[in-house]
């Protein structure tokens, strides 16, 4: 009864030249994934969001100044995934069938080793009990479990949507989902169409073609973590900076 399912590698390509930093991806992500609202004193270091839009500048004077916005979520590292090895609870794993890096809050004990290990600052810790503004509780997504205080959370490529797509496919007798049945909330919400999500292993998919293109690069590629989130830009300075140095957490617009 053993079935072989095709190996998938879900990934994302984000076109930085199209991103104007509006933050619609952050809002859509928070709504989709039941990300709770933290108190105002949280600041940038203790806030909760699964995708954060960074702004970087080339530090030149006008008229040569330039700003780029980089939405950064979990990069779903495919090689020596840094957060997996350090977790003492086995609360993190990489799905061997689709490459999605998980974070299971019920197993997490809140030691935050993974946050230290993650070179992309893509993991967030629940410093407070989860709360939602009054009246919005009924907007919670039943396909995603809310997290409790004291655990780490992060992007899982809207896995609740993957579950829903699988369930729909199964009701039609299919064990595999079609590419157009599974999209992340951020990719759907982006008004400029900057985010493309799909299966990198499928050479004909748009995401695989974009990722293989000449303008694509990965964040901190020199670390060799093999991120499955790619970025596109025609601006050389952005590519050079993002490929070598960690993105600055301080000095962000919402700090």
């Amino acid at each position: 009864m053993t079935k072989t399912t095709p190996q998938k590698r879900y990934g994302m390509v984000i076109d930085i030249d199209r991103c104007d930093g509006c933050g619609a991806c952050m809002v859509a992500c928070s709504l989709e994934n039941n990300v709770s609202v933290v108190p105002p004193e949280a600041g940038i270091h203790r806030g909760l969001t699964w995708i954060r839009v960074y702004s970087v500048t080339n530090e030149k004077e006008y008229p040569h100044s330039d700003t780029a916005y980089l939405p950064v979520s979990c990069q779903h590292c495919g090689n020596e995934t840094p957060c997996v090895g350090v977790c003492p609870q086995s609360a993190v794993d990489v799905d061997p069938k689709n490459g999605i890096v998980s974070q299971i809050p019920e197993r997490c004990m809140g030691c935050r080793y993974c946050m230290v290990a993650c070179p992309y600052h893509a993991r967030y810790f629940n410093w407070w009990d989860p709360v939602w503004p009054e009246g919005t509780e009924h907007l919670l997504n039943p396909g995603v479990t809310p997290r409790m205080r004291g655990v780490v959370e992060k992007c899982n490529f809207c896995h609740g949507r993957h579950h829903a797509a699988q369930e729909r496919a199964a009701s039609e007798g299919r064990s595999e989902i079609e590419p157009n049945e599974y999209q992340t909330a951020c990719a759907e919400a982006c008004p400029n169409g900057a985010i493309t999500f799909g299966d990198l292993a499928d050479k004909d998919s748009e995401v695989a073609k974009l990722a293989a293109g000449p303008e694509s690069f990965q964040l901190l590629k020199t670390l060799g973590t093999g991120p499955k989130v790619y970025y596109l830009t025609q601006r050389g300075w952005v590519r050079d900076m993002a490929a070598k140095t960690p993105l600055p957490l301080d000095g962000q617009p919402d700090d």
Binding site: D95, S102, H159, S171
Partner: protein
């Protein structure tokens, strides 16, 4: 003299073992689980008999999106039980307390999993062709509804953790733990990563 002492030791060992076993296998489960009766008597056998002729999925069906509808709402019962059929106590209770005022029956669910578990019934029944009774037992052949055994601390049903404290029969329908799911997934070579079943 030495022989007597050894006998005494063995005797105390056996007594200790029996007491510990009784405590662990009978006293602790009895104290840990509270027994709650269902709100109404219900016979699956009567409903699926030739006289009535209902099929399982007349009540327990899948939605068009593939979700499992679970226990039916009172609207399904009304089709036949608008007026009392017979004079049994449960029948009268059904009509007087639930059907006439339009109240839903607060059934207790034996197999409710924790919130963070994602279990698509349709993938298991339609794709893997696993019969319902493999996990739920032969519930469709029962004449009465057994009481729900609920863990006093966690609130979960004993069906999840398992009825057998000896640990000899630890697979569905005797238990529905994560390890039972994982065993079957590994045997069949399907996804066994965390996110395969957790949301």
């Amino acid at each position: 003299m030495i022989l007597t002492r050894r006998r005494t030791t063995i005797l105390f060992f056996i007594i200790g073992l029996v007491v510990a076993m009784l405590a662990g296998w009978i006293a602790v489960p009895a104290a840990l689980y509270e027994s709650i009766e269902q709100p109404l008597g219900f016979s699956h056998v009567v409903h699926s008999s030739d006289d009535v002729g209902m099929e399982c999925d007349d009540c327990h069906h899948l939605t068009s999106e593939g979700g499992f509808a679970g226990i039916p709402q009172i609207a399904v019962c009304v089709d036949c039980h608008e007026e009392a059929i017979g004079t049994s106590k449960d029948e009268l209770k059904l009509v007087e307390e639930y059907i006439k005022p339009g109240r839903e029956i607060p059934w207790l669910v034996y197999a409710r999993q924790p919130d963070n578990a994602f279990f698509p019934h349709v993938r298991h029944t339609k794709l893997a062709k696993i019969p319902c009774k493999q996990c739920h037992g032969d519930h469709g052949q029962t004449k009465t509804l057994r009481p729900l055994k609920r863990n006093r601390f966690t609130g979960y049903s004993r069906d999840i953790w398992g009825h057998d404290f000896s640990g000899i029969t630890t697979s569905p329908p005797w238990s529905m733990k994560m390890s039972d799911c994982v065993d079957c997934h590994r045997k069949r070579g399907v996804r066994d990563s965390c996110l395969a079943c957790h949301k």
